[in-house]
């Protein structure tokens, strides 16, 4: 097996917002030779397929492709090499990545690696939706690529299942492709806010319970709300709203996973359990917004630069445990001594609606703080906890438990 052996200073895997921003920061920060790999035919990642103006500054919003263009330019201008159509297939040791590309096989060794491999939407199989296996069932990600990149039709009658930005993007793409959106099925009790142009029938507190059809999809059975079961005739079912970290490479490299996010476990400096290996972006929790991912990419790059300059590992790590209905908190590890998280904030997710929410932390039964949040906590909507909230934690103590509760007091000054 002839693999070309190469060495670079910093290797970034994934050319989406997180990876591009990391590469620009690394190259500009004097990391030396910086390389970005992606198996896609070009750089940009997920925003390439999101044409709506949901990116960039609120006053002059941009479409996805326009948003990533300056990220690509910045990485190139800083001197990073962007390598499309390169798939990372293994990691025999931390800092070493095996790749396949049309020019052959390589084994790349880097002094610092940033994993920015993104996320995928949970497809039908992983959602355990029963029924037959006809054509016509796909994730929103596949739909967007199919419609925007390959200009393929999207069927005539579509059902979209799930909520969040993916659902809106799917409705938009289906409309563009001339499909009739029969219903948006969401498990949440409230209908999402849909812009007037995208208004479609919404079934709340509902779920797709069965797929029917032999070769092509003929319809879906939807349960809820309550005991209601109805059949919707459709030829397309788009699934969205359940993000899963795409962390195969992290696992192959042997990085520890965060049991709550199922992405690589990272501390506030976005260090993984492997020396010299960092992670940033959607891979940390299975989703998120592009500017947040880019900020994490820069944050990871700054940590990588410190590592390249000879900075050591933290003396210890404290675990952050999210208590239900919190699903996870990321970064989920606190280095000792403390370092600020990306954008100066922790991100949390909640599995059900909590009105008048307040976050509480304790360590070994000792309260560490109490932080009211300004808005109702909703599933699929990230919560933020700013600053260095766990500074009072005992570096030699047990894990820090973070809970969410309800406060009868009015919310305090904006923290979330």
């Amino acid at each position: 097996m002839s693999r070309r052996e190469r060495a670079v200073d910093a290797l970034v895997v994934g050319a989406g917002p997180a990876g591009l921003a990391a590469a620009a920061e690394l190259a500009a920060g004097g990391a030396g030779e910086v390389e970005v790999l992606d198996h896609a035919p070009g750089p940009g990642g997920l925003p390439l397929h999101l044409t709506h103006r949901g990116f960039g500054p609120r006053r002059s919003p941009l479409g996805g492709p326009a948003y990533v263009r300056p990220l690509v330019r910045a990485a190139l201008e800083a001197g990073a090499a962007l390598r499309p159509r390169v798939l990372a297939t293994g990691s025999p040791a931390p800092g070493t990545v095996d790749v396949t590309h049309p020019g052959g096989l390589e084994r790349i060794t880097a002094r610092a690696v940033v994993l920015a491999t993104g996320a995928r939407e949970r497809p039908r199989g992983a959602r355990l939706i029963p029924g037959t296996r006809p054509e016509g069932v796909l994730t929103a990600g596949e739909l967007l690529r199919s419609v925007r990149l390959h200009h393929r039709p999207a069927g005539r009658r579509a059902v979209v299942a799930g909520t969040g930005p993916g659902a809106l993007a799917a409705v938009r793409a289906l409309r563009e492709a001339g499909a009739d959106v029969v219903a948006l099925v969401t498990g949440h009790p409230e209908a999402p806010l849909l812009p007037p142009r995208l208004r479609v029938p919404v079934l709340t507190s509902a779920a797709v319970a069965e797929v029917t059809g032999a070769d092509g999809l003929s319809g879906v059975l939807v349960t809820g709300p309550g005991a209601a079961v109805r059949r919707l005739d459709c030829d397309t079912l788009v699934l969205t709203g359940e993000g899963v970290p795409e962390c195969e490479l992290a696992r192959l490299a042997g990085a520890a996973l965060d049991p709550a996010t199922r992405g690589p476990a990272v501390d506030t400096a976005l260090r993984t359990s492997l020396a010299g290996v960092f992670a940033a972006g959607d891979v940390l929790r299975g989703g998120g917004d592009a500017p947040g991912a880019a900020a994490e990419g820069r944050h990871a790059a700054r940590s990588a630069l410190r590592h390249l300059a000879g900075g050591g590992r933290p003396a210890g790590l404290l675990r952050l445990d999210a208590v239900a209905p919190l699903e996870w908190i990321t970064p989920g590890l606190l280095p000792v001594p403390g370092e600020p998280p990306p954008r100066g904030r922790f991100t949390l997710s909640v599995s059900r609606r909590v009105d008048g929410p307040v976050l509480l932390a304790e360590q070994d039964g000792r309260p560490l703080g109490r932080w009211p949040l300004p808005h109702t906590a909703l599933p699929g909507r990230p919560l933020h906890l700013y600053g260095m909230p766990f500074a009072a934690a005992d570096p030699l103590g047990g894990p820090v438990r973070v809970r969410i509760g309800r406060t009868s007091f009015p919310a305090g000054p904006s923290r979330g």
Binding site: T100, R133, E135, T139, T212
Partner: protein, 479 residues
Amino acid sequence: MSVTRTGALPGTLHDVAVVGAGVVGTAIARELARHRLTVALLDAADDVGTGTSKANTAILHTGFDATPGTLEARLVREGHRRLSAYAAECGIPLEGVGALLVAWDEEQRAALPRLAAKAAAGGHREPRLIGPEALRRAEPHLAPGALAALEVPGESVICPWTTTLAYATQAVRAGTGLHLRCLVTGVTDRGDHHELATGRGPLRARYLVNAAGLHADTLDALLGHRDFTVAPRRGQLLVHDGAARPLVRHILLPVPTARSKGVLIAPTVHGKVLLGPTAEDVDDRRATGSTAEGIEALRAAGRRILPALGEEEVTAVYAGLRAATEHPDYRIRCHRDQRYAAVGSIRSTGLSASLAIAAYVAEALGDAGLDLGPARDLPPVVMPNIGEAAPRPYQRGDLIAADPAYGTVLCACERVTEGEIRDALHSTVPPATLAGLRRRTRARAGRCQGFSCGPAVRAAFDAYRGTRPGPGAAEAGER
């Protein structure tokens, strides 16, 4: 040498028509092709191996647990030997991982020595009992509480899709006409030959072989027989992502007891982990849907055996139907006066026994008057490797250097390259659908199910469909 999916069928008088292009039918066609006979292989579906042959547990059984003295016991045992050798010759993915029948309670533990004795009575002397410590060493991720196991070396996992395709490829190259989308609706005896009425017009053949699997009794009835009735048994299966593969080393078989049949957990040659099957008697021969109850039962059973499996993502849920009948054994009958052989009740061991069933049927046809003539060795085929045990094209610098298409990975999860997709569409038995492409290459069979590269795979499918291989092609693909 032809594969057709549309148009009228050849008007020539065939020596043999084989109805049903599953793993058994393709094996029979391949065996007959060794004898310079003109053979037509018909199937109602648009591809080979789309019934029971595509949705099973993908295990090559030794037959250690078959009832000694039955035809099934004999043919599975012989089929295991034949297919093991054939797989090595053709590059069919196969891993001889061995099986462990794990006992979780006293009743099951007490059954193990009886199973070992039954295996020995059938000539299988390899199975041996192992204690809890050896079992723990063999399978470190097993749930606590396993008492003992019967270890069965020789039980293997195999690629059922490549197996069927290899048979079909060899048969077609040796002259068999493979006619798909060709449902047989009637059979008329014309004295010295059968005239088959099909959705694509008539086909004439002197001898007829019924390998119609789930529909074998329907065809049998067209010949005037009621020898068996297919009672489909549905098996639902969950496939787990490759991340789960390190959790299990052997095929973990349940110990059959009076109370329950249990489910198995098995690695697959594609680097995934299979959990199942359920066993449900259903009326509808097309009821290949999964159910919420079935999925939940499998998940619960899986967690009891291998707790960490529940933490891993499922990539696919599917259900297959086994062609069980009222008979506890294979039902292979040759009606000399009708020049007709029926291959019924193959149930769940058709893959393992396929080559032995084929030899048995050919011999029976000879006994019934078909002049087989001398057999010849067919030119060997080398199938594209889609298994994890041997290097795949994305891992082969030599192939990529010769053709960069083998370095262009289109399906990242499963590491499927553009070169492999092209080769599949240029192959002897090309796919007609994306599902067929998946069975040949694994494209879109991974954890993202097309989220990331689905449209690119579809574009490649469309681009290479109906094109012809260029000069110098087929170097890395099948040969």
